[in-house]
């Protein structure tokens, strides 16, 4: 079991899942650094956390896709939270419109840059930090889409699959140093990113996902499918033979 995290760095703090997770993790001794690109929104989240739980929440306005700024984010985290960062959560990403972008290499590279390159860069900085820290948790939100490339979403699947593999590797690298690397694979969640999908009842609430994330952090899990049913769904999807799968329209 991990202890309840006290110092928490959130990269992409305005994402719906990040907001819900912060609420679950907030307690009166907790200290947050919330990183994102909209100062006003970050402030409203920080104030909400402080008012609810009497915790302390600082914000950092920055563009996470600008890789040259990543070292400075880690420095800022150390100066606000102290040398020990109990939890770092990477929670940002975009959902590209596959049909509209699949014949546009620039659009695809741009989405890979956001969802893969910039996340890989942050994970690298975090790996270096946690290797020295020798405790704590790196959590990264990927997706159930990471488990198999689908024709309706393959740019996104590829980026998330890439990050999953990258995180798995870092988990191995940091295992001897007592660091948990948690790969969070949400199914369809009711968030702004998926608002246009017309999800009906299948979408989970961010608060349900946040509860699973909190539990997975405390239990030192490696991979989390959330809500749980997605583990079974993906188990089936992973085992459909490719000669059938390529004919499916999912």
């Amino acid at each position: 079991m991990n202890p309840q995290p006290v110092t928490i760095l959130v990269l992409g703090a305005t994402s719906a899942i990040a907001q819900a997770t912060c609420r679950k993790l907030a307690h009166k001794d907790a200290r947050f650094l919330l990183v994102g690109r909209d100062e006003q929104r970050l402030k409203s989240i920080a104030v909400d956390l402080e008012q609810r739980s009497l915790c302390q929440a600082n914000i950092l306005e920055t563009e996470l896709t600008v890789i040259s700024g990543h070292a400075a984010i880690l420095e800022k985290a150390s100066s606000t939270l102290g040398e020990t960062i109990d939890l770092s959560l990477i929670a940002y990403g975009t959902l590209p419109d596959q049909l509209a972008t699949q014949d546009n290499p620039e659009a695809i590279l741009e989405s890979l840059h956001t969802n893969f390159n910039s996340v890989a860069s942050l994970l690298t900085h975090l790996a270096m930090h946690y290797e020295k820290q020798k405790s704590g948790t790196i959590a990264v939100i990927t997706s159930v889409a990471a488990d198999r490339g689908r024709k309706t979403l393959y740019t996104y699947c590829a980026a998330k699959a890439g990050i999953s593999a990258f995180a798995d590797g870092i988990r191995g690298r940091l295992f001897p140093h007592n660091v948990q690397v948690l790969n969070i694979k949400p199914g369809i969640v009711d968030t702004p990113m998926t608002a246009h999908l017309g999800k009906g009842d299948i979408a989970a609430k961010p608060s349900e996902v946040a509860e699973d994330i909190q539990r997975a952090i405390l239990k030192k899990k490696d991979v989390l499918y959330t809500p749980k049913k997605w583990w079974a769904i993906l188990f089936v999807i992973r085992h459909i033979p490719e000669w059938i799968f390529k004919r499916l329209t999912i």
Partner: protein, 437 residues
Amino acid sequence: MAIGESWGRTLKADQEIHPRYWTNQPLPDIHAGKSLLPYGLGRSYGDSCLNDGGILIPTASLDRIIHFDRENGTIRAEAGISLADILQVVVPAGWFLPVVPGTKFITLGGAIANDIHGKNHHTAGTFGRHVRGIELQRSDGTSTVCTQTQDTDLLRATIGGLGLTGLILWAEIRLKKIVSSTIVSETIKVKNLDAFLELSASSDKDFEYTVAWLDSQSKSHGKGIFIRGNHSENPKHGLKVHNAPKLPCPMDAPNFMLNPLTVKAFNFAYYNKQLGKEKTATVHYDPFFFPLDAVHDWNRIYGKRGFYQYQFVLPEMKDHQAVRDILDVIARSGQGSFLAVIKTFGEIRSPGLLSFPRPGVTVALDFPNCGNKTMRLFEEMDRIVLKNNGRLYPAKDACMTPRAFTLCYPETKAFLPFVDPAFSSSFWRRVEQEAKS
């Protein structure tokens, strides 16, 4: 519950859904003449939370707390926060909501837009009385902060204004001090309406909360159980918040489940649940105020056909003959289901132009949707309500005629200038024609 039907599930709406996530966003683009309607948690029973052919703006993600003054007991929060969520934050600090309805799964904005009332109407008035200020976003691109001293007319129009005056971004309310999260409650069997009225009048002075459950099918008009209570003064009871609901309602019940016999059996069991005439108990606020919240989606017990709720208030009058008449009509029809809720409203004036509560006796009860038979019953009840200067509650309504609305709410004329031209609802389109003419 899927967005596109309301709590009673009798009406369906085809509407575009544009959820709102941040206060610093603009209103959705109005295209093809489509109108806008804010939407909270969809607990309104009829069509006041639907916008067929228009755009619905779900606000549940606008749920951040902006300031909680733990010393003086005020809270300012974004309008989509639920009352359940507010209680979770304020109860441990020794505060409670000034007014709560029968469910905690409504939003702050919805509580204002319907100017809701509770079991303490006789001591606290409506929810709107405890609103210190709001910020209202309008379709002309402006946002207005309305308080008791600034743009007060717009505040009074928005309280009870059914979401038609604009989108409430945040609201600040006064809280009520408590030392324990429990209620000392007394339940007393009453034999008839007179006994209820007498007990209600004599309890109003010493009890903050009063309400009664009546057997809607009893021929003696008002056999039931009277409930009264006060917040416990004993700090030893602690400041524990409510738990998440445990029991889901797993499926729609078949229509035959609710028939006059099962309803009778239920009412008999409920009335005789307690053997003695009086019972005193210290209970948590959750079962005291929100007994039905324990079953998530309880509206599904009425099956796919859905149900209506009918709530009226009749002004105080000698003998309460009108209340008797209407209870008689319901009992004879055999259509009323389970229990009716009855409460005497106090004299405290509601602040909203279109607030429902006024001094008198209010009754609310459910009717399974039996098509024309139910409509005919409502027409008969409407006649009694309107003849006796009563009024119906839009938050519960799916059937009120435009004429009935105009008779119930003569203040509509004063309200009209505050309606945002881009905002509308299925309810509003149904009743507004007469109001405008």
